[in-house]
């Protein structure tokens, strides 16, 4: 266990480095800069700004300066939001995104596994076909189509929930559902497929021969094995939810990290964009580490 943690920690270092180099290069090689705006700044001011933010140094020097600051936990100041540091912006945006994302993930996992299991038990019946067609539709209809539709139906027409903003739990209902729907559909399909496979396996036959009830078989024998593909999917699912949150936050006007990122990219806010990419990179690496531990716990044959 300790060895595994150390191994993964060491393995994460090159990954993060590649991530930072790529992001840094992408941002800096691009034409345009943070201080290009409508009104031309005088050359002198431009120079002074560049010097203040060390933009006049060679790129590699800037990169190592950034790296050094990062090791001290300093993401640097934001270029566009003049009075804020990137850390402060992440600290404002991330709790909102985290709440939205984790709720969506929780909903997706619980609903997806439940729906998939039920479909597997009723395999090749009408109910199964109906549920699976719905799931296929869920995968095929993008979030940015579902989200406006949800607003149209539940906020504008029925007026059950507010169309966006922040506040109490009602504000979160529609964004969370919009974010979770494709993942529910995907996880349901995964669970159904693996559950069918597991229910066909020899050891389930053994359990049936032992006179265990359907519930006991599902709970004690089948579920652990059947959720393994779902656990492996959690990594990509997180990435998908982070991506989806960019859209959902835009549509529902939620001030999360996703919106900061798009805005930052458009404003050439180097440090903010860099900060968010690194932050999410670390987040995904950590998350994948926990997923692997969960996998090990579920499948004793996997050695870490």
């Amino acid at each position: 266990m300790l060895r595994f943690t150390a191994k993964r920690f060491l393995g994460a270092i090159p990954t993060l480095l590649v991530l930072m180099v790529l992001a840094f290069a992408l941002i800096r090689v691009a034409p345009g800069g943070p201080f290009d705006s409508e009104k031309q700044l005088s050359a002198e001011i431009q120079e002074r700004l560049n010097a203040a933010y060390h933009l006049d140094e060679p790129l590699w020097q800037q990169f190592f300066r950034y790296l050094g600051n990062l090791l001290k936990g300093d993401f640097g100041p934001s270029f566009a939001y003049a009075d804020y540091t990137v850390s402060e912006l992440i600290a404002t945006g991330f709790p909102v995104s985290l709440k939205l994302g984790s709720l969506a993930m929780l909903l997706a996992v619980i609903a997806g596994i439940a729906i998939g299991t039920m479909a597997a038990l009723k395999q090749n019946t009408r109910a199964d076909y109906a549920v699976m067609t719905a799931a296929m539709t869920g995968i095929s209809v993008p979030t940015f189509v579902v989200a406006p539709l949800l607003v149209l139906v539940f906020a504008v027409t029925l007026q059950w929930f507010p169309a966006g903003g922040l506040g109490n739990w009602q504000n979160l209902v529609l964004p969370v559902i919009a974010l979770a729907l494709p993942q529910i559909a995907y996880i349901a399909r995964l669970t159904r497929g693996s559950m069918i496979e597991v229910l066909r396996s020899d050891y389930i036959r053994t359990a049936r021969a032992q006179g265990l009830t359907q519930a006991e078989i599902l709970l004690h024998h089948a579920l652990k094995a059947a959720v393994l593909p779902v656990v492996s999917y959690l990594g990509p699912a997180t990435a998908a939810i982070i991506t989806g949150s960019v859209v959902v936050e835009q549509i529902f006007g939620v001030p999360g990290l996703g919106r900061f990122f798009v805005q930052g990219a458009l404003n050439r806010d180097y440090t903010l964009v860099m900060g968010i990419v690194v932050f999410y990179g670390v987040l995904i690496i950590c998350f994948n580490f926990f997923v692997d531990i969960a996998y090990r716990w579920l499948d004793p044959r996997v050695t870490l």
């Binding site: 990954t15 992408l26 691009a30 296929m136 993008p142 940015f144 149209l152 504008v156 798009v262 990419v277």
Partner: protein, 292 residues
């Protein structure tokens, strides 16, 4: 070769037969073919051009009389024509980017799988590192900084998707290498090139076809996601994602501007996914006892 009663039935033919025996799959095929035909024949089907404005009818609902079958948007552009032209872009991006990821992925995965050992470890370690990248963010950055170039979309999306392909092909190649029929061919002195050509590739094909069918809708989705963020194709060109973005803004006043592009997009994705699923089941030789 002679075709007589002793002609065997290849696994692929059996798979196709079982696939085509399902009404739902055939329907999906037909719908998809219709969508492709419609987008291809777009200029013949309507007098309107993609960016021509009909000042007579601005924000009019679908109607046969005006010739705006899907209605018009807030500047009087014909949604029917725009949906079909947008479909061209979406499908084109889907196909091309999938081909990019197919070529890179098959190449990378096959080499890693055959070579094995250290080469394999290094190559797959690279894939692992790439997997941990928040790629969508990179694509967004690319789009923002390098302009909304359609070829860039192909490359960006293709470069993201090849990772899965490489993993799948590598796994298959690795297991295929130790299959007994490959060993038999090696014992028979068949050259490496011929083993790859006759034994490995034909047996990989099924998986690759399935994967391609399932990648196309993913790519279309990514493109429309970018277009939705305003980072995809630029006016006057359009794509389903861009149309849905426009439509979402007019959702309350002119819902048809959202409905039709969204419908085409969803229908296409649905058909691809459905056919891909069906193909996978048909090519999977495991028993399907108890199927209706």
């Amino acid at each position: 070769m002679r075709r007589d009663s002793n002609q065997g039935h290849s696994l692929f033919r059996i798979a196709m037969q079982s696939l085509l025996s399902s009404k739902a799959t055939v329907t999906a095929f037909v719908v998809m073919a219709l969508v492709v035909l419609l987008t291809a024949a777009a200029p013949l089907l309507s007098p309107w051009a993609i960016d021509s404005t009909d000042w007579e009818s601005v924000s009019t609902p679908p109607s046969v009389e005006t010739g705006h079958y899907f209605g018009t948007d807030d500047v009087g552009r014909d949604i029917f024509v725009r949906t079909l032209y947008g479909g061209r872009i979406s499908l084109l991006v889907g196909l091309s980017a999938t081909m990019v990821s197919l070529v890179i992925g098959v190449f990378w995965g096959a080499i890693a799988g055959y070579a094995g050992g250290r080469t394999d470890q290094l190559m797959m370690r690279f894939v692992d590192v790439m997997y941990a990248m928040p790629f969508m963010f990179f694509v967004i950055l690319l789009m923002v900084y390098f302009g909304r170039n359609i070829f860039l979309i192909f490359i960006a999306v293709g470069a993201v998707n090849w990772l899965d392909m490489a993993r799948i092909v590598r796994g298959q190649a690795l297991s295929m290498k130790h299959r007994e029929f490959v060993e038999a061919a090696r014992a028979g002195g068949v050259s490496h090139l011929n083993i790859i050509r006759r034994h490995i590739i034909p047996n990989l094909l099924g998986v690759v076809i399935v994967y391609v069918t399932l990648t196309i809708p993913q790519v279309i989705l990514v493109e429309s996601f970018l277009s939705f963020l305003g980072l995809g194709v630029q006016e006057p060109m359009t794509s389903w994602g861009a149309l849905v973005n426009d439509g979402a803004a007019l959702m309350e006043s002119a819902p048809w501007t959202l409905f039709f592009p969204a419908l085409f997009l969803a229908l296409t994705l649905f058909c691809f996914n459905f056919i891909g699923d069906g193909l996978r089941d048909a090519l999977d030789p495991r028993d399907r006892a108890g199927e209706p």
